[in-house]
């Protein structure tokens, strides 16, 4: 397994490893779980090109997740590897926001979930790449280029579906109504995130929200879809309180390692 070398990159952690570890793990879990959801589309996409797009985005997120898990393992310093962190933790130990574990539903449902995530992800990475933690900055510098493609793709699909046929519009409206409540968790800091914001490792989410909001308004206007009213934010995933969906997802994701412990390719 090819792993990153921390010494040659002259990484400097911007905070105590024990403060950074849970946050880096949260980033890792978030990218991994969404990558897994998107990979479920493989072979089932509406047309070949979009099947490939979904698989490509899944692969980018999986690569990003590996970088975070490797860094998290290093920060923890307990001898656990990236594989241990991904395959041998239970649902209550996972720290991804609820949004990314929601089932794929139809294509519109997947697009809305992706748009809400991409809009946050892209703007977050843009600030992290200039952040004080050089290892996180290196991962962000790499991943923001990919996240830019993802956001463009999901934004354009929001517009196509919203300004498309009666059926595509109806499906988009339904997906927005279902998923909007999960958007708020992305920018609601946990206690760990608040601490990192106070010492300047993470950006203030209010600044991030302003950029996200501007892009959302632009996309919804072009999609001819009225912006939903600010909704109650369903929280929980980032502190380990998940929906029922995560357990089923992990049972598939972790099946091989749980059944054949220590298995390697």
């Amino acid at each position: 397994m090819l792993t990153q070398d921390l010494s040659s990159a002259k990484a400097t952690a911007a905070a105590e490893p024990s403060l950074l570890f849970p946050y880096v793990l949260q980033l890792a879990d978030t990218s991994l779980i969404l990558a897994h959801r998107l990979s479920e589309w493989c072979g089932h996409g509406p047309i070949l090109e979009q099947d490939l797009a979904l698989a490509n985005i899944a692969l980018d997120l999986l690569g990003e997740a590996r970088s975070y898990y490797q860094y998290a393992a290093e920060l923890e310093g307990q001898g656990r590897t990236e594989d241990d962190l991904a395959y041998l933790r239970s649902a209550v130990e996972y720290r991804n926001p609820l949004l990314v574990e929601q089932p794929n539903g139809d294509f519109a449902h997947t697009i809305v979930r992706q748009f809400l995530f991409d809009n946050f992800h892209y703007h977050l990475l843009k600030t992290l790449k200039n952040g004080p933690d050089t290892h996180l900055a290196a991962i962000a510098e790499k991943s923001v280029k990919e996240a830019a493609y993802h956001l463009k793709w999901s934004s354009e699909w929001m517009i196509r579906l919203g300004d498309g046929t009666d059926e595509s519009r109806q499906r988009l409206d339904k997906a927005i109504a279902t998923l909007w409540r999960f958007a708020g968790e992305l920018t609601t800091p946990t206690a760990a995130e608040t601490t990192l914001q106070e010492i300047g490792v993470l950006p203030d989410y209010a600044t991030l929200l302003a950029e996200m909001q501007a892009h959302t308004e632009n996309v919804f206007a072009q999609a001819t879809v009225p912006l939903p009213a600010p909704a109650f934010a369903q929280l929980g995933g980032k502190t380990g309180r998940h929906s029922e969906h995560l357990g089923y997802l992990l049972s598939e994701l972790q099946y091989m390692q749980r059944t054949y412990p220590g298995l390697t390719w």
């Binding site: 792993t3 490939l52 999986l62 892209y122 510098e141 990919e146 892009h215």
Partner: protein, 171 residues
């Protein structure tokens, strides 16, 4: 396997050998053409090769690392460390001119510089003008930003109708 007894490696020799390692997904390109080898360091018998991934999830990286190891081992160079470096992030600016020519001859349109997708608010923006690698027509259109691998987009020529891969500009 009989491993020849190697002389102390020189950096120039290692670069020569790396030129012979190809990208498993685009076999006409060497990993030097692709610009993913960021450094070679020789200290006595110890060799350190630093590579950088093209895309985060590029599945070719593990294969490339193995291929480098095997190529050097065949010359008897066994003390090898391969580092994976993320920053500075890979860009198509590092692709060699020779590599670009080889790509086009192979049927993949090389990256058009200065066209990276940096402007996310430019939705449904004009497609990058890409030359068809078969008939050289400039009348082509983007089918999908996501092609057969992470680093490529899918285009089609409007004149000869050939569908082709375009190696995305990435910087």
């Amino acid at each position: 396997m009989v491993v020849p007894i190697a002389p102390t490696p020189t950096e120039a020799r290692i670069w020569q050998l790396l030129e012979e390692v190809s990208d498993p997904e685009v076999p006409v390109l060497s990993i030097l053409d692709l610009g993913i080898v960021r450094g070679v360091l020789v200290e006595g018998k110890q060799i350190i090769v630093t590579i950088t991934p093209t895309y985060s999830g590029c599945p070719a990286m593990n294969v490339i690392a193995t291929d480098i190891r095997l190529r050097l081992l065949a010359e008897g160079y066994a003390k090898l460390i391969i580092n994976n470096q993320l920053s500075p992030a890979w860009t198509t600016d590092w692709m060699s001119p020779a590599g670009r020519e080889k790509l086009e001859a192979y049927g993949i349109a090389p990256p058009v510089d200065g066209t990276a997708t940096g402007h996310m608010l430019n939705l449904f923006g004009k497609d990058t003008a890409v030359r068809c690698p078969v008939c050289k027509s400039e009348h082509t259109h983007l089918v999908s930003q996501f092609g057969s691998t992470a680093c490529k987009a899918h285009y089609q020529c409007d004149d000869c109708l050939e569908p082709f891969d375009y190696f995305k500009c990435h910087n």
